[in-house]
Amino acid sequence: MINGDGDGILKTTMNKILLFFLILAPFAAEARPVSYPGGWTVMMQNSGDMHSIHTHYSPSAKYSIGLRNEYDRRDDFQNHSIQLNNLVKRWNNPDSQANFYLKSGIGYAIKKGNSDQSPSAFTGIAADWENRRYFVSYENRYVHANDITDDFHQSGRIGFAPYIGDFGDLHTWLMLQIDHHPEANNDDHLTVTPLLRLFYDTHLLETGINDNNDVLFNYIKRF
Protein backbone atom coordinates (compact mmCIF):
# COMPACT_ATOMS: atom_id res chain seq x y z
CA MET A 1 0.00 0.00 0.00
CA ILE A 2 1.29 3.46 -0.89
CA ASN A 3 0.11 6.58 0.94
CA GLY A 4 0.72 10.32 0.91
CA ASP A 5 3.63 11.40 -1.25
CA GLY A 6 4.16 7.88 -2.48
CA ASP A 7 0.61 7.82 -3.81
CA GLY A 8 1.16 11.15 -5.54
CA ILE A 9 4.39 9.97 -7.11
CA LEU A 10 2.68 6.79 -8.28
CA LYS A 11 -0.19 8.74 -9.83
CA THR A 12 2.21 11.14 -11.52
CA THR A 13 4.24 8.24 -12.87
CA MET A 14 1.12 6.51 -14.13
CA ASN A 15 -0.11 9.68 -15.78
CA LYS A 16 3.27 9.99 -17.51
CA ILE A 17 3.02 6.39 -18.69
CA LEU A 18 -0.49 7.07 -19.98
CA LEU A 19 0.75 10.18 -21.77
CA PHE A 20 3.58 8.09 -23.22
CA PHE A 21 1.03 5.65 -24.63
CA LEU A 22 -1.15 8.37 -26.04
CA ILE A 23 1.79 10.05 -27.74
CA LEU A 24 3.70 6.98 -28.84
CA ALA A 25 0.73 4.95 -29.90
CA PRO A 26 -1.76 7.21 -31.53
CA PHE A 27 -2.09 4.67 -34.31
CA ALA A 28 -1.56 1.65 -32.21
CA ALA A 29 -5.68 -3.52 -30.61
CA GLU A 30 -5.49 -5.83 -28.05
CA ALA A 31 -6.52 -8.48 -30.52
CA ARG A 32 -7.33 -8.12 -34.17
CA PRO A 33 -11.09 -8.01 -34.60
CA VAL A 34 -11.06 -9.08 -38.26
CA SER A 35 -9.97 -12.53 -39.46
CA TYR A 36 -9.25 -14.04 -42.90
CA PRO A 37 -12.03 -14.19 -45.50
CA GLY A 38 -14.52 -16.80 -44.40
CA GLY A 39 -13.03 -17.08 -40.90
CA TRP A 40 -14.88 -17.35 -37.59
CA THR A 41 -13.39 -16.07 -34.35
CA VAL A 42 -14.43 -16.40 -30.71
CA MET A 43 -12.93 -13.86 -28.32
CA MET A 44 -13.45 -14.18 -24.57
CA GLN A 45 -12.24 -11.39 -22.33
CA ASN A 46 -12.34 -11.27 -18.56
CA SER A 47 -11.00 -8.53 -16.34
CA GLY A 48 -11.85 -6.62 -13.21
CA ASP A 49 -14.16 -4.45 -15.27
CA MET A 50 -15.92 -6.87 -17.55
CA HIS A 51 -16.64 -10.36 -18.83
CA SER A 52 -17.35 -10.55 -22.54
CA ILE A 53 -17.65 -13.00 -25.39
CA HIS A 54 -17.50 -11.76 -28.94
CA THR A 55 -18.13 -14.18 -31.82
CA HIS A 56 -17.63 -12.81 -35.30
CA TYR A 57 -17.46 -13.82 -38.93
CA SER A 58 -15.23 -12.12 -41.52
CA PRO A 59 -16.68 -12.09 -45.06
CA SER A 60 -13.43 -10.42 -46.14
CA ALA A 61 -10.17 -9.36 -44.52
CA LYS A 62 -11.60 -5.82 -44.34
CA TYR A 63 -14.49 -6.30 -41.93
CA SER A 64 -16.24 -8.67 -39.58
CA ILE A 65 -19.70 -8.87 -38.08
CA GLY A 66 -20.73 -10.68 -34.95
CA LEU A 67 -22.43 -10.86 -31.60
CA ARG A 68 -21.03 -9.43 -28.43
CA ASN A 69 -22.36 -10.37 -25.00
CA GLU A 70 -20.87 -8.66 -22.02
CA TYR A 71 -21.35 -8.17 -18.33
CA ASP A 72 -20.04 -4.89 -16.99
CA ARG A 73 -18.96 -5.49 -13.40
CA ARG A 74 -18.43 -1.82 -12.69
CA ASP A 75 -21.95 -0.62 -13.55
CA ASP A 76 -23.55 -4.04 -13.00
CA PHE A 77 -25.37 -4.56 -16.28
CA GLN A 78 -25.44 -6.90 -19.27
CA ASN A 79 -25.09 -5.60 -22.79
CA HIS A 80 -25.95 -7.75 -25.81
CA SER A 81 -24.99 -6.24 -29.17
CA ILE A 82 -24.45 -6.79 -32.83
CA GLN A 83 -20.91 -5.59 -33.51
CA LEU A 84 -19.33 -4.48 -36.76
CA ASN A 85 -15.53 -4.23 -37.01
CA ASN A 86 -13.96 -2.40 -39.91
CA LEU A 87 -10.31 -2.53 -40.86
CA VAL A 88 -10.04 1.04 -42.06
CA LYS A 89 -6.38 0.86 -43.00
CA ARG A 90 -3.54 -1.65 -42.86
CA TRP A 91 0.08 -0.82 -43.41
CA ASN A 92 1.97 -3.89 -44.63
CA ASN A 93 5.68 -3.33 -44.32
CA PRO A 94 8.53 -5.78 -44.94
CA ASP A 95 9.19 -6.28 -41.21
CA SER A 96 6.06 -4.98 -39.54
CA GLN A 97 2.35 -4.45 -39.78
CA ALA A 98 0.06 -1.69 -38.50
CA ASN A 99 -3.73 -1.55 -38.41
CA PHE A 100 -6.42 0.97 -37.74
CA TYR A 101 -9.92 -0.32 -36.88
CA LEU A 102 -13.32 1.11 -36.20
CA LYS A 103 -15.49 -1.00 -33.89
CA SER A 104 -19.18 -0.21 -33.34
CA GLY A 105 -22.27 -1.94 -32.10
CA ILE A 106 -25.91 -1.57 -31.22
CA GLY A 107 -27.84 -3.69 -28.81
CA TYR A 108 -29.75 -3.89 -25.58
CA ALA A 109 -28.57 -3.29 -22.05
CA ILE A 110 -30.16 -4.85 -18.99
CA LYS A 111 -29.38 -3.74 -15.46
CA LYS A 112 -28.95 -6.54 -12.94
CA GLY A 113 -32.29 -7.82 -11.66
CA ASN A 114 -34.03 -6.32 -14.73
CA SER A 115 -34.49 -3.08 -12.79
CA ASP A 116 -33.72 -1.07 -15.91
CA GLN A 117 -33.51 -1.92 -19.61
CA SER A 118 -32.48 0.23 -22.55
CA PRO A 119 -31.24 0.18 -26.13
CA SER A 120 -27.47 0.60 -26.16
CA ALA A 121 -24.76 1.65 -28.59
CA PHE A 122 -21.00 1.79 -28.54
CA THR A 123 -18.20 2.90 -30.82
CA GLY A 124 -14.45 3.07 -30.64
CA ILE A 125 -11.18 2.88 -32.47
CA ALA A 126 -8.35 0.40 -32.17
CA ALA A 127 -4.90 0.59 -33.62
CA ASP A 128 -1.80 -1.55 -33.38
CA TRP A 129 1.71 -1.83 -34.67
CA GLU A 130 3.84 -4.93 -34.37
CA ASN A 131 6.86 -6.62 -35.70
CA ARG A 132 8.10 -10.02 -34.56
CA ARG A 133 9.81 -8.56 -31.48
CA TYR A 134 7.73 -5.57 -30.34
CA PHE A 135 4.03 -4.71 -30.08
CA VAL A 136 2.20 -1.45 -29.39
CA SER A 137 -1.55 -0.92 -29.35
CA TYR A 138 -4.19 1.54 -28.34
CA GLU A 139 -7.96 1.29 -28.24
CA ASN A 140 -10.91 3.15 -26.83
CA ARG A 141 -14.65 2.65 -26.52
CA TYR A 142 -17.59 4.83 -25.65
CA VAL A 143 -20.76 3.04 -24.50
CA HIS A 144 -24.12 4.65 -23.96
CA ALA A 145 -27.35 3.11 -22.69
CA ASN A 146 -29.55 5.91 -21.35
CA ASP A 147 -29.67 5.70 -17.53
CA ILE A 148 -27.70 2.46 -17.33
CA THR A 149 -24.29 3.61 -18.51
CA ASP A 150 -22.43 6.43 -20.18
CA ASP A 151 -18.88 5.23 -20.13
CA PHE A 152 -15.59 5.96 -21.86
CA HIS A 153 -12.62 3.64 -21.54
CA GLN A 154 -9.24 3.58 -23.23
CA SER A 155 -6.29 1.29 -22.98
CA GLY A 156 -2.83 0.85 -24.40
CA ARG A 157 -0.31 -1.90 -24.51
CA ILE A 158 3.32 -2.43 -25.13
CA GLY A 159 4.71 -5.91 -25.66
CA PHE A 160 7.98 -7.71 -26.10
CA ALA A 161 8.71 -11.20 -27.41
CA PRO A 162 11.60 -12.76 -25.42
CA TYR A 163 12.33 -15.07 -28.34
CA ILE A 164 11.23 -15.09 -31.94
CA GLY A 165 9.49 -18.22 -33.15
CA ASP A 166 8.58 -19.17 -36.68
CA PHE A 167 5.24 -20.29 -38.09
CA GLY A 168 3.82 -23.16 -36.04
CA ASP A 169 5.94 -22.48 -32.94
CA LEU A 170 4.63 -21.42 -29.54
CA HIS A 171 4.89 -17.64 -29.43
CA THR A 172 5.33 -15.92 -26.09
CA TRP A 173 4.83 -12.24 -25.36
CA LEU A 174 5.38 -10.22 -22.22
CA MET A 175 3.05 -7.22 -22.18
CA LEU A 176 2.07 -4.26 -20.10
CA GLN A 177 -1.47 -2.91 -20.39
CA ILE A 178 -2.66 0.40 -19.03
CA ASP A 179 -6.40 1.03 -18.70
CA HIS A 180 -7.85 4.47 -18.21
CA HIS A 181 -11.41 4.93 -16.97
CA PRO A 182 -11.98 8.66 -16.49
CA GLU A 183 -15.27 8.19 -14.62
CA ALA A 184 -14.04 5.50 -12.25
CA ASN A 185 -13.09 6.06 -8.64
CA ASN A 186 -9.48 6.77 -7.75
CA ASP A 187 -8.43 3.15 -7.33
CA ASP A 188 -9.77 2.11 -10.71
CA HIS A 189 -9.15 5.33 -12.62
CA LEU A 190 -5.88 4.08 -14.00
CA THR A 191 -4.77 0.47 -13.76
CA VAL A 192 -1.64 -1.29 -14.87
CA THR A 193 -1.67 -4.97 -15.87
CA PRO A 194 1.47 -6.94 -16.64
CA LEU A 195 0.42 -9.93 -18.66
CA LEU A 196 1.62 -13.00 -20.49
CA ARG A 197 0.39 -13.81 -23.97
CA LEU A 198 0.80 -17.32 -25.36
CA PHE A 199 -0.01 -17.90 -28.98
CA TYR A 200 -0.03 -21.34 -30.55
CA ASP A 201 -1.70 -22.52 -33.75
CA THR A 202 -5.23 -21.00 -33.73
CA HIS A 203 -5.25 -20.36 -29.95
CA LEU A 204 -4.28 -17.14 -28.21
CA LEU A 205 -4.33 -16.96 -24.42
CA GLU A 206 -3.55 -14.00 -22.18
CA THR A 207 -3.36 -13.85 -18.42
CA GLY A 208 -2.25 -11.21 -15.97
CA ILE A 209 -3.09 -9.38 -12.78
CA ASN A 210 -3.42 -5.65 -12.33
CA ASP A 211 -2.38 -3.34 -9.52
CA ASN A 212 -5.87 -3.73 -7.92
CA ASN A 213 -5.36 -7.52 -7.87
CA ASP A 214 -7.96 -8.07 -10.57
CA VAL A 215 -7.20 -11.02 -12.79
CA LEU A 216 -7.18 -10.67 -16.55
CA PHE A 217 -7.88 -13.77 -18.63
CA ASN A 218 -8.49 -13.59 -22.36
CA TYR A 219 -8.81 -16.40 -24.86
CA ILE A 220 -9.18 -16.19 -28.62
CA LYS A 221 -9.83 -19.08 -30.98
CA ARG A 222 -9.95 -18.81 -34.75
CA PHE A 223 -11.76 -21.26 -36.99
Binding site: S35, P37, Q97
Partner: protein, 91 residues
Protein backbone atom coordinates in the same frame (compact mmCIF):
# COMPACT_ATOMS: atom_id res chain seq x y z
CA UNK B 1 7.82 -59.10 -68.07
CA UNK B 2 10.47 -56.55 -67.18
CA UNK B 3 9.18 -54.28 -69.94
CA UNK B 4 5.66 -54.61 -68.55
CA UNK B 5 6.77 -53.60 -65.04
CA UNK B 6 8.65 -50.54 -66.31
CA UNK B 7 5.73 -49.53 -68.50
CA UNK B 8 3.37 -49.85 -65.52
CA UNK B 9 5.67 -47.76 -63.30
CA UNK B 10 5.95 -45.05 -65.98
CA UNK B 11 2.18 -45.06 -66.40
CA UNK B 12 1.53 -44.53 -62.67
CA UNK B 13 4.32 -41.98 -62.22
CA UNK B 14 3.04 -39.92 -65.11
CA UNK B 15 -0.30 -39.66 -63.31
CA UNK B 16 1.31 -38.60 -60.03
CA UNK B 17 1.40 -34.87 -59.37
CA UNK B 18 4.92 -33.54 -58.92
CA UNK B 19 4.97 -30.30 -57.04
CA UNK B 20 6.53 -27.20 -58.55
CA UNK B 21 7.32 -24.29 -56.32
CA UNK B 22 6.79 -20.55 -56.54
CA UNK B 23 8.33 -18.37 -53.84
CA UNK B 24 6.47 -15.19 -52.88
CA UNK B 25 7.90 -12.47 -50.66
CA UNK B 26 5.10 -11.04 -48.53
CA UNK B 27 4.94 -7.74 -46.67
CA UNK B 28 3.09 -7.55 -43.35
CA UNK B 29 3.40 -11.24 -42.48
CA UNK B 30 4.53 -10.95 -38.86
CA UNK B 31 2.55 -13.56 -36.92
CA UNK B 32 0.92 -17.00 -37.13
CA UNK B 33 -2.55 -15.51 -37.69
CA UNK B 34 -1.14 -13.81 -40.80
CA UNK B 35 0.37 -17.07 -42.04
CA UNK B 36 -2.86 -18.98 -41.33
CA UNK B 37 -4.82 -16.41 -43.35
CA UNK B 38 -2.61 -17.05 -46.35
CA UNK B 39 -2.92 -20.81 -45.91
CA UNK B 40 -6.72 -20.61 -45.77
CA UNK B 41 -6.91 -18.49 -48.90
CA UNK B 42 -4.35 -20.34 -51.05
CA UNK B 43 -5.32 -23.88 -50.12
CA UNK B 44 -8.82 -23.27 -51.52
CA UNK B 45 -7.30 -22.80 -54.97
CA UNK B 46 -7.34 -25.73 -57.38
CA UNK B 47 -3.86 -27.04 -58.07
CA UNK B 48 -2.27 -25.70 -54.88
CA UNK B 49 -0.86 -28.71 -53.09
CA UNK B 50 0.73 -27.08 -50.09
CA UNK B 51 2.12 -23.85 -48.66
CA UNK B 52 5.44 -23.58 -46.91
CA UNK B 53 5.52 -20.37 -44.88
CA UNK B 54 8.51 -18.80 -43.19
CA UNK B 55 7.94 -15.78 -40.96
CA UNK B 56 11.70 -15.44 -40.64
CA UNK B 57 12.25 -15.17 -44.38
CA UNK B 58 8.90 -13.43 -44.99
CA UNK B 59 8.21 -15.94 -47.74
CA UNK B 60 5.38 -18.17 -48.87
CA UNK B 61 6.41 -21.11 -51.06
CA UNK B 62 3.44 -22.24 -53.11
CA UNK B 63 3.68 -25.90 -54.11
CA UNK B 64 1.59 -26.62 -57.19
CA UNK B 65 0.47 -29.84 -58.80
CA UNK B 66 2.52 -30.76 -61.85
CA UNK B 67 -0.25 -29.86 -64.27
CA UNK B 68 -1.31 -26.70 -62.45
CA UNK B 69 -0.22 -23.12 -62.84
CA UNK B 70 -1.04 -19.82 -61.20
CA UNK B 71 -0.37 -16.39 -62.66
CA UNK B 72 1.42 -13.55 -60.89
CA UNK B 73 -1.80 -11.53 -61.09
CA UNK B 74 -3.70 -14.30 -59.32
CA UNK B 75 -1.01 -14.57 -56.63
CA UNK B 76 -1.17 -10.82 -56.05
CA UNK B 77 -4.95 -10.98 -55.90
CA UNK B 78 -4.95 -13.82 -53.33
CA UNK B 79 -2.28 -12.19 -51.15
CA UNK B 80 -4.29 -8.97 -51.16
CA UNK B 81 -7.55 -10.83 -50.49
CA UNK B 82 -5.90 -12.37 -47.43
CA UNK B 83 -4.97 -8.84 -46.27
CA UNK B 84 -1.29 -8.64 -47.18
CA UNK B 85 0.96 -7.32 -49.91
CA UNK B 86 3.23 -9.03 -52.43
CA UNK B 87 6.84 -7.82 -52.39
CA UNK B 88 8.14 -10.16 -55.09
CA UNK B 89 7.52 -13.43 -56.91
CA UNK B 90 10.32 -15.86 -57.75
CA UNK B 91 9.63 -18.69 -60.18
Amino acid sequence: MRFLMIATAVFFLSGTAIAKDITVNVNGMVCDFCAQSLEKVFLKEDGVQNLDISLKNKTVVIQLDDDADISDEKINELIEWAGYETAGIIR
